[in-house]
């Protein structure tokens, strides 16, 4: 193993322990690790944005020797306008234009995206014959339909939760609570395996206590 690798493994082990020490309380080791993490990750993304976005998505496209594209120049112009903030208040207001553009596009694109994937598709999936299959299937179908219905009733803002309507909203909260509990309990185990990966590194690659 080369010295860079050995050094790297010791460094990585020190960082691992430094971050874990936060569980005890904030301390100088965590603080050092945190500062290095913030700085290096900011640098990492800075570099990645430069090469993956600016170089590949703009430079290589716009200056393609065979068929140069025009579309990336729109992004370039928006980006330059964004940087006007660096050059004083006189022209800084220009940076609102690319923001307005991005906000408008985001609102437009995601409005359709969510309407389709979260509303249309989910409603389509809810519309299913209920009384088919075994008794168990029927119970399951009824529960899904009733749960979706009551859950949505809970989200009504313009009607007071009273009477039958309030009752449905309450059942809706119950369904939401079961959903939260189940998804939580469900995730616990896979979160444990994340730490196992680090322990495997510490005891295996670094200390070599396990084979």
């Amino acid at each position: 193993m080369s010295w860079e690798q050995t050094f790297g493994i010791w460094l990585a082990a020190a960082f691992t322990l430094g971050i874990v020490s936060f569980l005890y309380r904030d301390n100088i080791f965590y603080k050092v690790c945190e500062a290095i993490f913030v700085g290096s990750s900011a640098g990492y993304w800075f570099v990645t944005y430069f090469w993956d976005n600016l170089y590949r998505k703009f430079y290589l496209q716009a200056f393609d020797p065979v068929s140069p594209h025009i579309a990336p120049w729109v992004g370039f112009i928006l980006g330059v306008l964004m940087l006007t903030r660096l050059f004083g208040a006189k022209i800084a207001w220009l940076s609102r234009w690319p923001l307005a553009f991005i906000i408008g596009a985001t609102a437009g694109v995601y409005m359709m995206f969510y309407f389709v994937s979260n509303a249309m598709l989910q409603i389509g999936a809810s519309i299913k014959p209920v009384f088919v299959g075994s008794f168990g299937d029927i119970v399951s179908n009824v529960l899904i339909a009733a749960g979706t219905f009551c859950g949505l009733v809970y989200f009504f803002f313009s009607k007071e939760h009273k009477g039958v309507f309030g009752g449905a909203a309450r059942v809706g909260i119950w369904f939401l609570m079961v959903t939260f509990g189940a998804s939580f309990g469900y995730t616990v185990m896979s979160r444990m395996s994340l730490m196992l990966g680090r322990l495997d590194f510490l005891f295996g690659d670094w200390l070599r206590l396990i084979s």
Partner: protein, 406 residues
Amino acid sequence: MKVKAFFLISAFVLSGFVSGFAQESAEPIPVENDSLTVAETPAPATDVVAKDTPNDAGGSITVTWDLSPDDTTKKIVTKYVVMRAEEGSDDFKEIGSQVAGKRSVTDNEVVDGVAYIYKVLATREILQDDAIIEVLSSPSEPVGPAKSTAQWFNMSRLNIFIGIIILCGAIIYYITAARGGKSFYIRKIAGIVEVENAVGRATEMGKAIYYVPGINDMDDVQTLASLTILGKVAEIAAQNDTRIDVPVSRSMVMVTAKEIVKESYSRAGRPEAHQDDQVRYLTDDQFGYAAAIDGLFVREKPATVFLIGAFFAESLIMAETGNSIGAIQIAGTAQPSQLPFFVAACDYTLIGEEMFAASAYLSREPKLLGSLKGQDLGKAVFLFAIVIGIILESFGIPVSNLFKVQ
């Protein structure tokens, strides 16, 4: 109002039928075809049709056929090969193939406006020791000419079009009604009501407020929603003379948040209290950001923490640390997978739609409240559609296709 709702609902349901029929009317027209059977060679495919692929940007023709009578489990037909030539030429080239039992191939290599002729070869590959030793095939009659074109409206999305028109129409209707002076009842939403109390608590304790707007960039509507809420929270904080800190993980969010916080201070009449370093960038990295936020929480010990926006796995890392320093935490996200963690670790959680409603609710502007009322009407239409749909489906009338997305 009820009449209007009924009208909207029936329009919605009807529209689905319309779009359902629109799709069906595009049935292929059968083409005459003589079947010539040669010994050992499979019979050709029948009813071959080549036509422009609908609802696309052009450059595509779809070829469909009915299976060859020899396409059975006996494997006399092993595949179909589709050949194409320009009209007036006999130079047929293979453009695609399909395994036995399949009935269509999409040719994406055509030029718009050029007429093409197609034929389908029902093919039998005879294998020996995994190697093809003989290929027998019989061509269908050539069909065409077919031309590809681009469409200006995607008919298969008509149902979505009508759906979004109804929803947006309802929202805009109530916004306009509110402009005209109508006022609407909006119920109390626990988490949102607590926003003001939470800011008040920080004021009493003389400590700062931290507002974390999630880890996504400006290309997520959750971030936009979070920033509009930030505007209201910062205004209340400025009125109370309580410092609000906004550490962010995206540069564009930083730029926007700076504008918002500054504006909130001047709306609160305290522009002099605003400091430039209240909004600051940390790092674009998910866990780097979480590490930095954790550090800030334990060192600065804010009295109130807002975690509102798009969060992923880091949600619990932040919320647990916020909890450990005893801060009042109000969270909100439309990330269904992270809601359980916020519910478990925070004092109040704005669940999905509630987060989007928060800025309208906090502003108390009638126009914005009107949009909530419109949203509710949309919800009523959806609920109605689900109930009716389930009933119809249970009686064997298929309607779920009305919500199909292509």
